[in-house]
Amino acid sequence: MVNFAPVSSYSSQELAAALKAGSLEVALGPFTARAKGEGKPLRSFLQDTYRDVMVRLSLSDVTDIALDVRAPSLLRKYIRPQVIPDPGFQVPAVPLPKSMSGLAFEMGLNLVVALKCCRFVTFHAGVVANDKGAILMSAESGGGKSTLVAALMEEGYRLYSDEFALLNMPDARLASYPRPVSLKNESIEIVRDFAGGDWVSPVISDTPKGKIAYRRARPEDITEAGETAVTKLVLFPRFEAGVRASARGLRRAEAIMRLIPSSTNYHLLGEQGFNALRKMLDGAEAFEITYGTTDDSMKMVRDLAAKVGL
């Protein structure tokens, strides 16, 4: 069996050939994905944004995820080329210009994890962790969740996940799933400032979500993948321009009420999911934090993290 190696250790030709054959196996925390797709945009996206992520060129095992970034129709392969993510089952897919193949890849992975991978309770949330435990941040898009995740990465936390918190059911621990952190519009500059230009991908403009760039996972985030953490802090961040920073402690019932709707598969997992959620909250404190600047939010998160012993 061939071992995994970082994307950056392979040549463009090798990667292109594996992508074309649909034999590129990508390790993503507890999941593996078989990636397929043609063309330079997808290949360069992986080389840039996934450069430290572990892959192998020939399929050595079956995978949790199979994702084909392909043209929606033969016509669209040649005229105003478009792509859609095709995970092998019917999902909503917005055709994107071929130049946005990377975005299609990300959207496809998110859809598959949200809809198909049922071995974990999946919450729409960002997660960072250190040796003592994890911070789970559940927010609507635009809540500043990704910016917070990226900022916490600068403070000694490892990136567990930007998009999905994966709650392992038997032991109620969060699984590390380090994919690139997706940054939108203004947050791109903010993160570039503190993470350094080398860690942020080129900007994709005019996407359905506006400007998008990715903050790469670091080698130390990725080699740590496969580990798990206990949840210490559950945050519901809310960004409001100009508002004074404040934190409000949430009672357990309220945290449950807010976490369940943020899950993509809670209902599917039934009693096992409910018990895992309760067990996760047993050791955690929950807060709603409202803030107007990233600095404010970071101050609050530092205080709260210290309070729960992180």
Binding site: R251, M257, H267, G270, E271, F274, N275
Partner: protein, 104 residues
């Protein structure tokens, strides 16, 4: 809306074996094993489920027991409110008529 036919004489029951109840200050988080749904019950609906776990009852009987249990008088909690709350609980399957097969 009720989940099926009923009358004033219907004896209602709640099955503790179907529920995981996590009581909080004034609400209960209830997981219903049959439907896989998680519900938030306020003090009134939670009290009704609790009382019907102990002993089946009609609308009228439950109204009486709820008033005693929660130390309320009928002005605060009219029979119509207890009845409509029980119908909401019937709709979720948290309570059911006693002789419904399959839920025993």
């Amino acid at each position: 809306m009720a989940a099926g036919p009923y009358s004033a004489d219907t004896l209602w029951v709640a099955h503790a074996a179907h529920l995981i109840v996590e009581p909080h200050e004034d609400v209960s988080v209830v997981f219903h094993k049959l439907s896989g749904d998680t519900h938030i019950l306020n003090f009134l609906s939670a009290a009704i489920v609790e009382l019907l776990e102990e002993q089946p009852g009609t609308f009228a009987e439950v109204t009486g027991r709820v008033l005693t249990y929660l130390e309320l008088d009928a002005d605060d909690c009219p029979p119509s409110l207890v009845e409509s709350t029980m119908l909401q609980l019937d709709d979720t399957g948290l309570i059911a008529p006693q002789n419904l097969a399959g839920s025993a």
